[in-house]
C-alpha cells in the first residue's frame, strides 16, 4: 500500500514534469531523442556488421558469436554492479527526499524497497539500452524471429536486478560496518579502483584472441576457449546460455535458464531486503551524522599566500576543491588505468608493415580522441554544474560568467592536454610512425583535446544542473549526451578532413608522382581549422549566453 503510494508519487512527478514542458522543450527533447535513436542505430549497425562477420566464419562462427555474447553479458553485469554500488550510496543514504521519507510514518523496509528499486533502475537503464542493439543485431545476424527478442526481454529484468543487487548489498554492508559520512569517500575510491581493475582484467584477458585463432597455438586450444563457459556461476552466463537456447529453438532449456534467473533474482532481492532490515537504518543514521571536523591548516598560511586576482582566485578554488574531493581525485586512478590499458592495446596490435603502423598512428586521432572525449564527460562537462548550490557566490560576485568559464577551461585543459600528449607521443613512439604522420597525429590530438575541453565547458554551461545529488546525474543527462554526440562528431570530422593530406602523404610513400596537391592540402587544413574554431565558438557562445540568463 505504502509502496504503491511512493510509486504513485514518482508517476505523478514524471507526469507533471512532462505536462510542464514548454513547446520549445518538447521540440528540443524530441530532437535529442531522435539523435539518441540515431546513435543507437549506429551501434546496432556496428554490432550487426561484426556479428555477421563472426557468424560467417566456417565451422566455428556460431561458437564465436555466443562466446562474444557471453562476454557482453559479463561486461554488462560488472558495469551494472559497480554502477549500482555508487547509485545505491546516493539514493539510499543521501537523497534529498530521504529526510522527508524517514520522518513520514513509513517503515524502513518500504523506504528501502522504493529506494533500492530506484537504484537498480538508474544503475542499469543506460547499460540495458546499449545491450539491446546488440540483441537486435544478433537477431538479424542469425536470421531469428521476434520470439528471440521476447526471450531476451524476459531474461533482461532478473539479470539486471541480480547484478544491481550485488552492488546494493555491498553498499549496505559497508555503510553498516562503517556508518559514517567518511565511508562515502571510501566507496568512491573503492569503486574507482574496482572499475580500473575490472577494466584492466577484461583487457588483459585479450578478448581479441576471439578474432585471431592464430594467437592460440593449436586449434584444439582455441576450440576449448570458445566452448568453455564464461564465468559459469554468474547470472551473465545463465542469460547468455538462455539466449542461445532461445536462438536454437530449445525452449525448454530457455525456460530452465529464465526460471533460474527469475528465481535467483527473487531470492537475492528477498535476501537483500532481509539484510536491509538489519543494516539499512543503522547505516542511514550514521551517514547523516555531520561531516567530521577536518582541520586542513591553521590560520598561519594566510600570511604566506600571494595575491591571486579575481580570475586567479577562481582557478585556485577549482584546484583546492578538486584535490580535496575524493569523488574527483579518485577518478584519476581510472584515468591512469585507462591510459595504461590503451597503450597496452596499441602495443599488442599485430602490425607488421611500417605503412600499417603509420596508418594506425593516424587513426589514433580518432580512438585517442574518443578516450579524451570520454574523460571530458567526467571532468570538463560537469565543471559548471559542480558549482552546485554555491553558484550564487560567483553569480553575485563582480566577475563575468565568461571569465568563470575561462578559468574552468584552463583548469581542465592542462590535464587533458597532458593525457593527449601522453597518448599521442607514446603511440607514435611505439608504432615508430614516420615524421609526417607523427607530427600530424600529435598536433591533431592536442587540438582535439583543446577543442573538446572548450566544448565540454561550453555545453556544460548550456545544460547546467546545479541541484544534483551526484555527478553521474550530470554525466547521464541530456546535456551529457549532447556533449558526447557533438565531440564524437567533431572527432570523426577531424579524421575525415585530415585523411586528405594523409592520403597524399601515403601516395608519396608509395612513390606516386605529383602526390601532393598543395591547394587541396591547404583547403583541408583550412577546413579543419574552421571546423575546430566553430566547434569551440558555437558551444562556448551558446553556453555563455545560457549561463548569463540562467535563473536557477
Amino acid at each position: 500500500m505504502s509502496l504503491g503510494l511512493l510509486a504513485a508519487r514518482r508517476a505523478r512527478s514524471l507526469r507533471n514534469a512532462v505536462v510542464a514542458l514548454t513547446p520549445y522543450e518538447r521540440a528540443r527533447n524530441a530532437a535529442f531523442s531522435a539523435a539518441g535513436l540515431a546513435l543507437l542505430y549506429g551501434l546496432y549497425a556496428g554490432f550487426r556488421r561484426a556479428l555477421v562477420y563472426l557468424a560467417g566464419v566456417e565451422l566455428i562462427g556460431r561458437l564465436m558469436t555466443w562466446k562474444l555474447t557471453a562476454l557482453m553479458f559479463l561486461m554488462t553485469m560488472s558495469m551494472v554492479t559497480v554502477s549500482s554500488l555508487l547509485t545505491a550510496l546516493t539514493t539510499l543514504y543521501y537523497s534529498f527526499d530521504l529526510k522527508f521519507l524517514m520522518n513520514a510514518p513509513l517503515d524502513a523496509r518500504t523506504i528501502f524497497l522504493d529506494k533500492s528499486l530506484e537504484s537498480a533502475f538508474f544503475a542499469s537503464w543506460m547499460i540495458a539500452l546499449v545491450l539491446t542493439p546488440y540483441a537486435l543485431a544478433l537477431r538479424a545476424a542469425l536470421h531469428l524471429g521476434w520470439g528471440f527478442m521476447a526471450a531476451y526481454a524476459a531474461l533482461l529484468p532478473p539479470f539486471l536486478l541480480l547484478a544491481a543487487s550485488l552492488g546494493i548489498a555491498f553498499t549496505l554492508i559497508l555503510l553498516y560496518l562503517f556508518p559514517s559520512s567518511r565511508t562515502r569517500d571510501a566507496v568512491w575510491v573503492l569503486s574507482s579502483l574496482s572499475l580500473t581493475i575490472a577494466y584492466g582484467l577484461v583487457r588483459f584477458a585479450q578478448p581479441e584472441r576471439l578474432l585471431r585463432p592464430d594467437a592460440l597455438r593449436v586449434v584444439a586450444q582455441y576450440l576449448e576457449f570458445l566452448q568453455a563457459p564464461t564465468a559459469p556461476y554468474l547470472p551473465s552466463w545463465w542469460a547468455a546460455r538462455g539466449l542461445r537456447a532461445a536462438a536454437e529453438g530449445r525452449w525448454l532449456a530457455w525456460c530452465a535458464d529464465a526460471a533460474l534467473l527469475w528465481a535467483c533474482a527473487a531470492a537475492v532481492y528477498a535476501g537483500l531486503v532481509a539484510l536491509a532490515a538489519k543494516t539499512y537504518f543503522i547505516g542511514y543514521s550514521g551517514a547523516q551524522e555531520g561531516a567530521l571536523r577536518r582541520r586542513v591548516h591553521s590560520l598561519a598560511p594566510l600570511r604566506e599566500v600571494r595575491a591571486l586576482g579575481r580570475e586567479g582566485a577562481v582557478l585556485w578554488k577549482e584546484r583546492v576543491v578538486f584535490l580535496r574531493d575524493v569523488k574527483h581525485w579518485s577518478q584519476m586512478l581510472l584515468i591512469c588505468g585507462l591510459v595504461f590499458v590503451y597503450l597496452f592495446s596499441i602495443r599488442r596490435l599485430p602490425l607488421d608493415s611500417p605503412d600499417l603502423r603509420s596508418l594506425v598512428s593516424f587513426l589514433n586521432i580518432g580512438t585517442a580522441g574518443f578516450v579524451i572525449a570520454a574523460l571530458g564527460l567526467r571532468f570538463t562537462f560537469p565543471a559548471v554544474s559542480l558549482e552546485g548550490r554555491s553558484w550564487w557566490v560567483l553569480r553575485s560576485a563582480p566577475i563575468g560568467v565568461e571569465r568563470v568559464m575561462r578559468q574552468k577551461l584552463l583548469f581542465s585543459a592542462a590535464p587533458m592536454l597532458l593525457v593527449a600528449l601522453t597518448l599521442g607521443a607514446s603511440t607514435n613512439w611505439m608504432l615508430d610512425a614516420d615524421r609526417f604522420t607523427a607530427a600530424l597525429s600529435l598536433t591533431a590530438l592536442l587540438v582535439v583535446a583543446a577543442v573538446v575541453c572548450a566544448m565540454g565547458v561550453g555545453l556544460g554551461a548550456l545544460f547546467p544542473r546545479f541541484r544534483i545529488e551526484n555527478i553521474h546525474q550530470v554525466e547521464s543527462s541530456l546535456g551529457g549526451f549532447v556533449y558526447m554526440a557533438a565531440s564524437l562528431f567533431y572527432i570523426g570530422a577531424t579524421v575525415a578532413v585530415l585523411a586528405v593530406p594523409m592520403q597524399m602523404h601515403f601516395r608519396e610513400r608509395f612513390g606516386k608522382a605529383g602526390a601532393w596537391d598543395a591547394r587541396l592540402a591547404a583547403a583541408a587544413g583550412a577546413a579543419w581549422l574552421a571546423l575546430s574554431a566553430a566547434a569551440i565558438a558555437v558551444p562556448w557562445t551558446l553556453g555563455r549566453r545560457a549561463l548569463e540568463k540562467n535563473e536557477e
Binding site: 571536523r293 557566490v393 563575468g400
Partner: protein, 250 residues
C-alpha cells in the same frame, strides 16, 4: 543608493514582482516584509543580478544592474536565504576567496579575515572544511565574507535565520553601525520584531505588489486601525483576519 523603478519579473503567466518602485538612501535600513511567495526573494535576486527582470530598472550605487552588472556587484554584498558555500574550502579560505573576488588587497584580507572570524566566534573553526559547519556557522561566515569587502549596499535575505541569540544581537549591532557609516541595507525578513526595531522604513509586499511602504508611524496610518505594533499592522494589511477562523477550526 538603491533606485528601483517599474521592476517586474514574470515566470510564464505569473508575475512574481509587478511594477516595483522604491528608493533606499545611503545609511538607511529598509525592511522588506511579506508572506511566503510575495516576491521578496525574487526582488533581491533581481537587485543582485542573479536573475534578469522582465521589465523595469534597478540601479545600485549608481550603476544599472542590467547594463553594468559587474560595477553594481562590486558595490554590494549579498547574504542569501540559504547559505550554501563550497564544502571543501575552509572558513579562512572562503574569506580569502571572497576577498580576492571583490578585489580586496591581500594585506587587508590577511588583517581582516582572522578578525572577522574572531568577531563571529568562528576562529577555532577557521581551518576546518565548511562541510563540517552548522547552518548558523555558515550564515555567520557568509556575513563575515560580506563585511570583508565593505560594500556600499547590503542585500540581506533572512539574515537572522539559524543564528543564536548572541550572534543575532551582534549582527543587529553590526547593521546599525554600518548604516551609521553610510551603508544602505535592504533586508527581507519574516521576523517582524527585527524589522520593527532595526529598520528605518518598511515595505510590505503581497502577490508581487508593494501594498504599503513607509516608517512605522506612516504604516500605522495605513493599517486601517489594525493596531500599534508592526505585527498588527502587517496582519491587517495582509489579511490576518483569516487566522481567527483557522484557529477556530484547529
Amino acid at each position: 543608493m538603491i533606485e528601483i523603478s517599474g521592476l517586474t519579473k514574470r515566470f510564464g503567466e505569473r508575475a512574481a514582482v509587478s511594477g516595483l518602485d522604491l528608493t533606499v538612501a545611503s545609511g538607511e535600513i529598509f525592511g522588506f516584509l511579506g508572506p511566503n511567495g510575495a516576491g521578496k526573494t525574487t526582488t533581491v535576486r533581481m537587485l543582485t543580478g542573479l536573475i534578469r527582470p522582465t521589465s523595469g530598472r534597478a540601479r545600485v550605487a549608481g550603476f544599472d544592474v542590467a547594463e553594468n552588472p559587474i560595477a553594481a556587484k562590486r558595490a554590494m554584498g549579498l547574504v542569501p536565504d540559504e547559505p550554501f558555500v563550497y564544502p571543501k574550502l575552509t572558513g579562512l579560505e572562503y574569506l580569502r576567496f571572497i576577498g580576492e573576488l571583490y578585489g580586496v588587497r591581500l594585506d587587508e584580507i590577511r588583517r581582516r579575515a582572522p578578525e572577522l572570524l574572531e568577531m563571529f566566534e568562528l576562529a577555532p573553526w577557521g581551518g576546518e572544511l565548511l562541510e563540517s559547519y552548522s547552518h548558523g556557522m555558515r550564515q555567520k561566515l557568509v556575513l563575515a565574507g560580506v563585511l570583508l569587502h565593505e560594500p556600499k549596499v547590503l542585500m540581506l535575505d533572512e539574515p537572522m535565520v539559524g543564528l543564536d541569540p548572541k550572534s543575532g544581537r551582534l549582527v543587529k549591532d553590526i547593521f546599525r553601525e554600518l548604516a551609521k557609516r553610510g551603508t544602505a541595507i535592504f533586508m527581507c525578513t519574516h521576523v517582524l520584531e527585527i524589522a520593527e526595531k532595526l529598520c528605518d522604513r518598511v515595505g510590505i509586499m503581497i502577490d508581487g505588489r508593494m501594498i504599503a511602504c513607509g516608517t512605522l508611524a506612516q504604516l500605522r496610518e495605513q493599517g486601517r486601525g489594525g493596531g500599534q505594533d508592526l505585527e498588527s499592522i502587517f496582519l491587517s494589511l495582509t489579511g490576518g483576519a483569516e487566522y481567527a477562523s483557522l484557529l477556530r477550526y484547529l
